[in-house]
Subunit: 128 residues, 2 copies
């Protein structure tokens, strides 16, 4: 609400700060495939749920991802075409630069395994 007052420069640095952590960049690459709920992302990266939630919050604050809540789960997805130009260019730059890297491929492979399970099953395994 107050955060909306940031100027173009601060918005830009918010984006670059969000992109400056390797885990957050990997999250964006994973979300290229489809929207994911927090427990799926937690399973993918093997971090504490609170850590994953915090990372996603940073990405959302920067405008790079959006979220929707359904039943018990919160799903995050990459921001769509309604996002500011700078955000879209950032996402394009990430994809273009890293989509074909080993890191992205390995994450996608593990994500494939995770997507075979129902979110509820993942959470039974992962969340506490």
């Amino acid at each position: 609400m107050f955060g909306e007052m940031a100027n173009q420069f601060d918005q830009f640095v918010g984006i670059t700060k969000a992109l400056s952590d390797p885990t957050r960049v990997r999250m964006l690459l994973a979300l290229r495939r489809r929207e994911l709920c927090v427990c799926q992302i937690t399973a993918l990266f093997g971090l504490a749920t609170s850590t994953v939630s915090k990372h996603l919050s940073v990405l959302q604050q920067a405008g790079l991802v959006q979220s929707r809540k359904t039943e018990r789960w919160v799903y995050y997805r990459l921001s769509d075409k309604s996002a500011p130009v700078t955000v879209r260019e950032a996402l394009d730059w990430v994809s273009k630069s890293l989509a074909r890297t080993d890191v992205a491929a390995a994450d996608q492979k593990r994500l494939g395994q995770i997507l075979k399970m129902e979110p509820s099953e993942i959470c039974r395994r992962v969340c506490r």
Copy 2:
């Protein structure tokens, strides 16, 4: 100089880390105008010389700028077309997103004043 064996992913995060500090982004915007020596950049931002040197080192490590030494001074400039694609796209993204912002305009205005002086004169004023 660029002899690091980091993979594409690490190179990318190196770039985003370099871009995650507002001072470093402003330095890149200033260098769009022309190459600048350390003492000119120091005068422009009013920071300690050692701090400026460190920032420029981070930008150079990421491949975003290059340097040349002439007489007493080290000049830094934006990396040219021989730089990796990811670097060029990063620089383009910075320019496209921020070249017309108030911050960039104010820095350019002050830079105009600084460029009226000889580097040696600036150093006599600024260094120490």
